[in-house]
């Protein structure tokens, strides 16, 4: 069936697109080969998910669409970027970052030769203006925690100084996500077309779709591709179908079902990016039925993690241990893996005086594939222990308005899974901006502060382990597994990013084989 559809597309050449012919040229049976030396040239057609209603062009706005984030990240650079397992923060626009002795003052030195697309060099003033603008957004406090706008200053032409309210050894980590740099004093209405410093510059943009051209003068090295075309898709299915029929070269974050559909096709590369997405079940710790730590532990013991990974993620993922940040080099893999233990769970529930006669509502949305399914499967697993859970599906908008940060019991997902400290600062410390479980634990807060205030790497790893142990023992997160990020790509596409989370937007090293 696939073959005939491809054939139909090839023979129906009235469309006359050269790219279409190229896609057909791959033919059945050519296995994707890695390696080879990068070749210059070509246009990469990338599909990314997005909804028209959620489009944003502002690099400092809230990017709800993957397509928007991709376009913005390729045009505007961040100060630092996600790295691999050994080092989760690598240099980008800031070529070096050094702390003061007390870990409160950080100096970021801008990369040699960094310039905007119109040729003007990037100065510290531009960065300071951009960071202050970012800090001034509604969620600015969560994006640059502990740094007030007044404490972002320039020192000369090429150094930016950030002063944190407290010692923070992990500050560069926080500058990886949305510290997109714009020219100083760019008026708001010119933001969408404003020049950035990234490896690609904007050619045109139409309602979520964009064409980007190579920035020949990029400071970060040679960019192989001539251009990237980003196409926005409303559903992963539509995107995967476009990929399979050769209309796009890469389907970004297409999901496990698409990967399995494509598995029978030897001319499609399936790129798995492990530790990509956390899909925890969130339990409110400050009130309601899950306020008792014993109840929370029982829930964590009820879930059959292997079955969840197998059935919800089609096996494209790994079992997790209730600690967010599995991609962190300092992830405490030596903590005992929590397994299913119904007897112990029931004993804990009985001790805690849990009401077995009530039906508990688990609220979920269909924002990402597998989310609602995870809730459904968890509900039926819990029923085996006598806990009655009803799954309530909410429309995405209603979910974020009514349930997120407020509900007792709901599913959630985080696509930026890479460091333990990131989650601790955003969701777990007392009063954190997105404290989804409304958790406040003095011991945890102390451990967090200790991690941030420790400069020595070994000592910090030890402190991080303490922090993770507390999180594992009693936080409100039931993290049963980690979903792999799954991209589909045509065989000619080489050098695709393999990093989880926002690492997926690093397309500057991609090249097309002849």
């Amino acid at each position: 069936m696939d073959f005939s559809r491809r054939q139909a597309l090839c023979t129906g050449g009235g469309l006359g697109a050269a790219a279409l012919l190229a896609a057909c040229g791959g033919g059945a049976g050519t296995a994707p080969a890695a390696g080879g030396s990068p070749r210059r040239g070509g246009t990469l057609r990338v599909g990314a998910l997005g909804r028209t209603s959620a489009i944003t062009r502002d690099p400092h706005g809230t990017q709800g669409n993957e397509s928007d984030y991709l376009v913005i990240a390729l045009v505007h650079d961040t100060l630092t970027a996600p790295g691999g397992k050994d080092n989760n923060t690598v240099a980008r626009l800031a070529s070096a970052f050094t702390p003061s002795k007390d870990l409160r003052t950080w100096r970021f030195t801008l990369a040699e030769g960094a310039a905007f697309h119109d040729g003007t060099p990037v100065t510290a003033d531009d960065v300071v203006w951009s960071l202050r603008r970012l800090r001034g957004t509604p969620s600015g406090a969560a994006r640059l925690p502990g740094i007030t706008a007044g404490h972002i200053t320039a020192d000369g032409k090429r150094t930016v100084v950030l002063v944190s309210d407290y010692a923070n050894a992990e500050l560069p980590l926080l500058t990886r996500l949305s510290t997109f740099v714009l020219k100083k004093d760019t008026p708001d209405k010119e933001i969408p077309g404003a020049p950035g410093t990234g490896p690609f510059k904007l050619d045109w943009y139409r309602g979520g779709n964009a064409r980007l051209l190579r920035n020949t003068d990029w400071y970060g090295g040679a960019v192989h591709l001539d251009a990237i075309e980003v196409t926005m898709f409303q559903s992963p299915q539509a995107m995967a179908n476009a990929m399979l029929s050769g209309q796009i070269d890469v389907a970004s974050n297409a999901g496990a079902v698409a990967a399995r559909t494509a598995r029978a096709r030897r001319d499609v590369q399936v790129v798995r990016r492990p530790d990509d997405m956390a899909m925890p079940i969130v339990m409110r710790t400050s009130g309601g039925p899950f306020a008792d730590a014993r109840v929370r532990e029982a829930m964590k013991l009820l879930v059959d993690r292997e079955a969840m990974v197998r059935q919800v993620l089609s096996g494209y993922g790994s079992v997790a241990n209730d600690i967010l940040g599995t991609g962190d080099p300092a992830y405490a893999g030596d903590l005992p893996q929590r397994r299913r233990d119904l007897a112990r769970a029931q004993r804990l529930l009985t001790d805690a005086g849990f009401d077995f006669s009530r039906t508990y509502q688990l609220v979920t949305t269909e924002d990402v594939a597998g989310l609602a399914e995870s809730a459904t499967l968890f509900a039926s697993q819990a029923r085996e222990a006598g806990v009655r859970i009803e799954v309530v599906k909410q429309e995405s908008g209603a979910f974020y308005q009514k349930t997120w940060l407020k509900g007792d019991f709901y599913t959630n997902y985080w696509g930026t899974n890479d460091s333990v400290v990131f989650f601790a600062s955003k969701t777990l410390t007392t009063g954190a901006g997105q404290n989804e479980t409304d958790w406040s634990d003095q011991e945890f807060d102390a451990a967090y502060r200790k991690v941030l205030a420790t400069a020595d790497r070994t000592a910090r790893t030890a402190a991080l382990r303490d922090l993770q142990r507390i999180e594992h023992d009693r936080s409100g997160y039931l993290l049963w597994g980690m979903a792999d990020g799954i991209d589909l790509a045509a065989p000619k596409v080489r050098g695709l990013p393999k990093l989880p989370g926002y690492g997926r937007v690093q397309l500057e090293n991609v090249w097309l084989a002849p």
């Binding site: 999901g255 079902v257 399995r260 197998r310 059935q311 096996g315 594939a369 459904t376 039926s380 599906k393």
Partner: protein
């Protein structure tokens, strides 16, 4: 006189057994749906194979759904609730419509009121109505959808009954009864209603099919039953993404809904007295 009676007799009796044949598929399907839970090999909520597992793997003849649960077992479980609520909706709508329709043709004032209300209600987009009611009644689930189906289906049905009853209201025997001082209720229920049997039966069949569609549509829009319930319409919706991996997860419930609607329609047609069919064919 006696010859005509002899000739007429076989004509009214003979078609009956043959007429029942079209009703068989619907009866079988309803019977299967009602006894389905007893025949299912697996529980509705336990995964037995890979998500969208192929037909035949893990003891699932029609493969697995989005969580690897047995499609056949879910199919067998999912029918009774749909058929049950559709039956209830059809019965209530037919009952209300018959009652209102019979009274409406006798009292001009009630008639006008019913007519206006029905016209307004018919003009209302039904999807919008269902969504409104389902959203205004969170947690209503199946009950909310059924209520919406009743509210939205009745006006149209009233018009049909009233249309069929209008000529009867003008016949001699009703006029005679009116003249002899019978009360409105007697006129409606004793004089008009018995002559509407064929219309009411046909109406019931049509209302059942309509209710199946409305409830299935609400299920597809996720307004009625909630997961992990094994509802046919919900199954279609849930398993859409994996249609290339296991088409049966979508095709089987889709076919079941289609067969049910077509089957019941055939049955209603067959069961309706011959006069109505002849009238319809003329």
């Amino acid at each position: 006189m006696s010859t005509t009676a002899k000739a007429a007799r076989p004509r009214t009796r003979r078609p009956r057994p043959r007429a029942l044949v079209p009703a068989v598929p619907a009866l079988l399907l309803v019977l299967l749906a009602l006894t389905g839970p007893l025949l299912a090999a697996h529980p509705v909520d336990r995964p037995v194979t890979a998500p969208y597992g192929e037909a035949g793997t893990g003891g699932a003849p029609l493969g697995g759904d989005q969580l690897g649960r047995d499609v056949l077992s879910r199919l067998l479980h999912g029918g009774s609730a749909l058929i049950g609520s559709a039956l209830a909706v059809a019965a209530v709508v037919t009952f209300l419509a018959t009652l209102l329709g019979c009274f409406a043709v006798l009292g001009p004032r009630l008639g006008r009121l019913v007519e206006r209300a029905a016209d307004t209600a018919i003009l209302l987009p039904s999807v919008l109505g269902i969504m409104l009611l389902a959203l205004a009644w969170p947690g209503g689930g199946r009950l909310a959808v059924s209520a919406a189906a009743v509210v939205l289906g009745t006006p149209y049905a009233v018009r049909i009954v009233a249309g069929a009853a209008a000529p009867l209201a003008a016949t001699g025997f009703v006029e005679a009864a009116t003249a002899s001082g019978e009360r409105l209720a007697h006129l409606a229920l004793r004089e008009i209603l018995p002559n509407l049997r064929a219309t009411v039966l046909a109406l019931f069949g049509l209302r059942f099919v309509d209710a199946v569609y409305v409830i299935a549509m609400a299920g597809f829009l996720q307004l009625g039953p909630r997961p992990p319930e094994a509802d046919w319409a919900l199954m279609i919706r849930e398993n859409g993404p994996g249609i290339l991996l296991n088409p049966w997860a979508v095709l089987a419930p889709g076919l079941a809904i289609g067969l049910l609607a077509v089957g019941v329609n055939l049955a209603a047609n067959a069961l309706a007295p011959a006069t109505v069919r002849r009238a319809a064919l003329r």
